[in-house]
Amino acid sequence: MAYCVHCGVKLGAGEKRCPLCQTPVYDPAEPERPAAASPKAYPVRTPEQALKRSKRFLLTLAALMLLAPAGLCLVIDLLATGGITWSSYASGALLMLFLSAAPPLAVPRYQVYFAIGAPFLSLNGYLFLVERLSASGHWFFPIALPSLALGAGLVTLITVLWRRGWINKLTLIAVIFAACAVECLAVEWLHARAHGLTGGLVWSPFVLAPCLFISLSLFFINGNRSVREEVRRRVHF
């Protein structure tokens, strides 16, 4: 029988950590305490089971809500026009939404990265489809794909920074504004390059300037303790 050195409570025989403060049980006389020697007083919860069940329900719901209308659009289009015309856009959009939602629900771990990757891939697929069907020129590979790839990369980078705890809430907002500025700059540059435009940047500086201003201000506030406290004092709610 062990006691928690922080809480002072006696711990049940099956506890390897104090349930109140998570301090590990350490008996100097028995440093290698056998784990299975004393079973726990209660069966240990297994959250994965519950997670799977609720996710399965959401997956079914997503399939019903998105795939059923997609199929319906195709059928109506076929009956009305004798072929697949407008319905490919509507069905493609619904399919894209389903493919964005389904993988994070179907996979038990690393949901965040699936949540970024799945919409990226499905949106690319949809835009490629639109380009092919609409005959509106070649814009997918020169503009859409690199823009989306840069966006996904920036979102992943911000997610990693946040999950690792390298940025706080204030710098998270600063980084998001900076990422928006970079994305706008890249989209205009890719657009100009694809169409052979040489007039320089036209609209992106109008987004870039305020985004960078906000971002740098937030970095400054975050870095300066007295300013940070002053801002907090004035805008707290």
Binding site: K10, G14, A50
Partner: protein
């Protein structure tokens, strides 16, 4: 073959089917821990023998046009091994629609109840009867007394009555208006996860500590919980203080004796308001003691119940279709319900052991299901000289149990802790 028997939901029970969700199960669990390992086959036999004695528990939830109702189940209830997910939500179409589950784990027999069926007192009667019948089937000389009922006796009509409707109710109604209470900082767990921290506390030193401050054990425990919340709020939100309240269910059978197995309890919310100034622990105990003395009397409690019964009896309310009632009830519950309290402490009191079982039943346990908000709730029952206090929560933080139990240890009350938490 006679038609299936059916029951109206009792006044308190009407709330739960409307507001229960995949996050909030409206369930609670009562267990009997034996001194021997449970034999599943014998337990199944005991359940088969005992369940017909409790017609109000052998029911499924059915939807009427205006209200839900309970319908008799003729299929047997199957006992299951406990799987680490206490008080999971009941799905009305699973397990033949049973709103009752019976589990076994090592030497523990547990029964989970959907709150529309019964309250803690009714649940304790069931588990006492089940455990005694289980021991009888094992050849032990036991008697069905001290709260256990004979399985072969015919249930009386008053056992299935809605006792709220039989008690004298005043014309005056109590107000429900209260400001939202402080909640501990909480990181919600994923749905269907209930974290259990169980503490065994010897009664003698606990009673001695309570008596020093002229309080009962319930008042003392409520005060310790309020003190934990008070200190947490002082540390985290010193400028945005909220009232602190602990909801304490009150068994109405103490004032209006009734053998009903249905719900027959209400609640009071003792607490303090730190916006008025600073408190010492002794002041909190004094406030709680005074409040309980004032609020826990049949006249005031009847006024609270009169408010609920009047709503149920209102002709306009009765004529509204069930799905609209569900929406209204769940909207009202979201705005009130758990928002008004910091936590809940339900104390079943001293559970007497049926004759012959004192060396065969180690203790009883009482455990609340997942709260509707990210909270930590608490339930207790005393067996022999030991109080079993179980904190159940759907949050990762253990602030309330940690600070409550540390406080007791500091006061010289020994505490033994067990849990269902993974050793991460």
């Amino acid at each position: 073959m006679r038609g299936k028997r059916w029951f109206k939901l009792d006044n308190a029970g009407k709330l739960y089917p409307a507001v229960s969700s995949f996050r909030w199960s409206s369930a609670f669990r009562i267990s009997a821990e034996l001194t021997e390992t449970v034999d599943p086959k014998r337990l199944q036999q005991a359940v088969d023998n005992v369940l017909p004695r409790f017609p109000s528990l052998k029911v499924r939830m059915r939807s009427g046009l205006f209200w839900y109702y309970l319908e008799e189940i003729r299929e047997p209830l199957t006992v299951r091994q406990d799987a680490g997910h206490p008080c999971m939500p009941f799905r009305f179409k699973q397990d033949h629609g049973y709103l009752l589950r019976v589990f076994y784990y090592r030497s523990r027999i547990s029964a989970e109840f959907f709150h529309s069926l019964t309250d803690g007192s009714g649940g304790l009667t069931f588990i006492k009867t089940l455990a005694t019948e289980y021991l009888r089937l094992g050849g032990k000389k036991v008697q069905f007394d001290h709260g256990a009922v004979r399985p072969l006796d015919k249930p009386g009509p008053e056992e299935t009555e809605d006792a709220f409707l039989r008690m004298p109710l005043p014309r005056v109604r109590a107000s429900r208006k209260e400001a939202p209470a402080y909640h501990f900082p909480a990181t919600p767990e994923i749905p269907h996860t209930l974290r259990i921290i169980a503490a065994s506390i010897p009664c003698a030193p606990l009673i001695a500590e309570a008596k020093k401050l002229n309080a009962t054990v319930t008042e003392y425990l409520v005060s310790v919980m309020l003190w934990a919340a008070y200190q947490c709020q002082e540390a985290q939100h010193p400028r945005r203080k909220k009232p602190l309240r602990v909801s304490v269910p009150v068994n109405m059978r103490a004032f209006y004796p009734s053998p009903t197995m249905r719900n027959f309890s209400t609640f009071v919310n003792p607490g303090i308001d730190p916006r008025l100034g600073d408190y010492t622990f002794e002041e909190i105990v004094g406030e709680v003691h005074a409040y309980m003395k004032y609020a826990v009397n049949p006249k005031l409690l009847s006024a609270v119940i009169a408010t609920n019964v009047a709503d149920e009896k209102n002709l306009l309310v009765r004529l509204v279709p069930r799905f609209i009632k569900n929406w209204v009830i769940s909207s009202v519950f979201r705005k009130s319900g758990d928002r008004l309290v910091t936590s809940t402490l339900t104390n079943l009191g001293r559970a007497e052991l049926p004759t012959g079982t004192d060396r065969l039943i180690r203790r009883f346990e009482f455990q609340l299901g997942s709260p509707s908000s990210p909270l930590c709730n608490c339930a207790s029952v005393t067996t022999g000289g030991e109080l079993r206090l179980i904190f159940s929560s759907n949050i990762r933080e253990t602030t309330l149990p940690r600070e409550t139990l540390r406080f007791l240890v500091e006061k010289g009350v020994p505490v033994t802790v067990e849990s269902n938490l993974e050793d991460e």
